[in-house]
């Protein structure tokens, strides 16, 4: 796979299907100097789903739904990397520091594709879920068994680094397969309306903004830590992406 093909793959599917060949041709003709503009163009289009030319009915809603769950999965991985956190809780005993989770969960609920209420459809969906999640489930079980055996605590040096890498690769794999499952369900389920999707994105953006603000406030009160700053920045970026896409969808609907 050459760079032109790889960069073209970064575009939203509708744009890629309509213009992919032309983008590749243009990039091959212009060479390496066209890469930054190509990347910036892809990022701009992901932030403006209202601009995507639909090549089949419901394509934009389907892709935005999967992208929203991918963003949520990225948030989950980011928060996991920062644990244990004293500022961002997900705990009913700490309602004030867990408040950021409420709009986030509301957003996920709003964006969830609704499966058709028929026996055959539900059976197909369950089969798809089993097929998609069987390997990641086995990987998680293996990870848990390793952790519970206490073997991981005795590892040092290269073995320890390999175990940590393996842990993060497993989490990444689980996140990826969950997004694949949402994509498979979205093919047959009732997709959320554009209005619901834009509201969901704005809710998720609000939750992430709250989380980033909580982190920044905690940093102001205590000694700033580079890890916390990076986490706040990443949460802020994810929030900006969600809010921008949600706002664009709302404008398009209007």
């Amino acid at each position: 796979m050459n760079a032109a093909t790889l960069l073209t793959w970064l575009y939203p599917p509708a744009v890629r299907e309509r213009w992919g060949e032309d983008i590749r041709h243009e990039m091959s003709a212009s060479g390496i100097r066209s890469w930054p503009d190509t990347l910036a163009g892809a990022a701009r289009l992901w932030l403006h789903p209202g601009d995507w030319p639909e090549t089949c009915t419901g394509q934009t809603r389907r892709v935005v739904t999967v992208a929203l769950f991918a963003l949520t999965a990225a948030t989950g991985l980011l928060l996991r990397s920062a644990e244990p956190s004293s500022t961002l809780k997900a705990d009913i005993h700490h309602p004030a520091t867990s408040l950021w989770l409420v709009p986030l969960l509301l957003g996920i609920g709003l964006a969830a594709p609704l499966p058709p209420l028929s026996g055959a459809a539900l059976r197909n969906m369950t089969a798809a879920a089993v097929r998609t999640l069987a390997v990641p489930t086995a990987a998680v079980v293996a990870l848990c068994l390793t952790a519970w055996s206490g073997m991981a605590e005795r590892l040092t040096g290269f073995a320890d680094t390999a175990a940590v890498t393996c842990y993060w690769l497993t989490l990444g794999f689980v996140a990826l397969r969950l997004c694949v499952l949402v994509a498979r369900i979205a093919r047959t389920a009732a997709l959320p309306t554009t209005r619901r999707l834009s509201t969901a994105l704005l809710h998720i953006g609000t939750g992430l903004t709250l989380a980033a603000s909580q982190n920044l406030l905690a940093m102001v009160r205590t000694t700033p830590h580079p890890g916390s700053l990076a986490e706040s920045t990443a949460l802020g970026l994810l929030a900006a992406m969600a809010i921008s896409a949600g706002h664009d969808l709302r404008q398009k609907r209007a």
Binding site: R18, W19, E26, D37, G41, L45, H48
Partner: protein, 103 residues
């Protein structure tokens, strides 16, 4: 180049005749002396199509195959006319302020 400029350049060259992506950029290069980057060009084409200002020249073709040639719509011509007239007014005012007689 600003994305709105890219959109206006695309509308300008499509006002003359329907063109496909690469030919649009070649026409822009003839007009301005430089090609648009792929992100600017195809971002502008997507936005313009999303706003109904351009459309595939062959409506009957398969949606995934009719990406080659695009044409400006009536709404696109109206939008382009309005923007060019506004630019002409600004240009005339600027040239007057500089003491240059607009041609």
């Amino acid at each position: 180049m600003h994305s709105n400029d890219a959109q206006m350049l695309v509308l300008t060259v499509l006002a003359d005749r329907p063109l496909h992506g690469y030919a649009i950029n070649t026409a822009i290069e003839e007009l301005t002396g430089r090609r648009l980057g792929p992100g600017s060009l195809y971002g502008a084409l997507s936005r313009l199509e999303g706003r109904g200002l351009i459309q595939p020249a062959d409506e009957a073709a398969d949606p995934q195959e009719r990406h080659r040639t695009m044409q400006i719509t009536d709404a696109g011509r109206d939008q382009l006319r309005a923007e060019l007239q506004q630019m002409a007014r600004i240009s005339a005012a600027g040239l007057r302020a500089l003491g240059v007689n607009p041609a």
